[in-house]
């Protein structure tokens, strides 16, 4: 069981996430023709088993998800989750089309992979840079399904920490919600705090 994070620990996480999302926004804008804005994200931490209580209100809905796994000083997975139809709206806004089909086709899924990849990489990359330890990443993968099934990490479920990052994309006056679920093995915070100590920062402020 994870002890509740201290204010300082949350502050560190928040800053890392802000920086990550900010970098992602910069990267996306560099790449896209339409201007994309990412709102300052809000973050929540909870145990994986509490995910069943459905903090996002997705329920049984089929959501769109870009997933990847990482291994290194600690293991986990990251998933960028969109509520139903939001993903299609985002892709359409990015490519300047009107979404005609309610579900994403394979080509649009590719676009989502790219955008999700940029966002997740930026966030994990920032955290990883702080830890100054290398990660191995899997390739991003687009899937659709019920939230609980998509994020299912296997037997270790109970011991995992979930970092939920809520952010909104605004493209050409259209707003789309996205949620990044970062799932970490136990000991994540300890690893993070140790790394900060290693940098010579007094981390229990």
């Amino acid at each position: 069981m994870m002890t509740a994070p201290t204010d300082f620990q949350l502050d560190v996480l928040k800053e890392l996430v802000n920086v990550g999302v900010g970098k992602a926004a910069a990267a996306l804008n560099e790449m896209l023709e339409s201007h994309i804005e990412l709102e300052v994200p809000s973050i929540t931490l909870f145990q994986f088993e509490n995910l069943k209580e459905d903090p996002e209100g997705f329920g049984d809905a089929v959501v769109s998800c870009v997933q990847l796994r990482f291994h290194g000083s600690f293991n986990g997975s990251a998933a960028l989750v969109f509520p139903p139809r939001s993903a299609a709206k985002l892709v359409a806004a990015l490519t300047g089309e009107d979404p005609e089909t309610p579900s994403l086709n394979a080509v649009m899924a590719g676009t989502l992979n790219e955008v999700g990849n940029i966002l997740i990489n930026a966030v994990i990359g920032t955290i990883g840079n702080m830890l100054a330890k290398p990660f191995d990443f899997s390739l991003p993968n687009y899937v659709e399904g019920r939230l609980e099934e998509l994020l299912n990490p296997g037997e270790q479920g109970a011991d995992l920490t979930v970092l939920l990052i809520r952010t909104r994309f605004r493209v050409q006056d259209r707003q789309v919600e996205g949620n990044i679920f970062l799932i970490f093995e136990i000991g994540f915070f300890d690893a993070l705090m140790t790394a900060i100590e290693d940098l010579g920062l007094p981390c229990r402020a």
């Binding site: 300082f8 928040k14 802000n18 920086v19 910069a26 300052v40 920032t126």
Partner: protein, 121 residues
Amino acid sequence: MRRILVVDDSVFARLNICNMLKEAGHETAEAANGREALALACSFRPDCILSDLLMPEMDGIGFLNALSERNIRLPVIVLTADIQETKKQQCFDLGAAAFISKPPQKTELLGLLDRILNQEV
């Protein structure tokens, strides 16, 4: 050697930067938002300000505005993760001296600082 005011709503970010500055021998003061920073700009009398953009109560842009309204001429280095041309231009128009991306690398930050401070002299 110099007095630097660090403005950021994240305790961690301020800690990080102040550490770097103190190691280089500078004196530091901290503010969590634009409003606090304005007060310190007068009382602490810094030689240079390092400011984040996204903060509650008064954000970086608001802070830059307030500084120019009060005719406080201090070099401000803007710290942000989201470096976009539009934001950059906006800050420069409001009188920002330079831009640096977060998280700042020690050598990059100190080098930039020296350049800005020496310009002032």
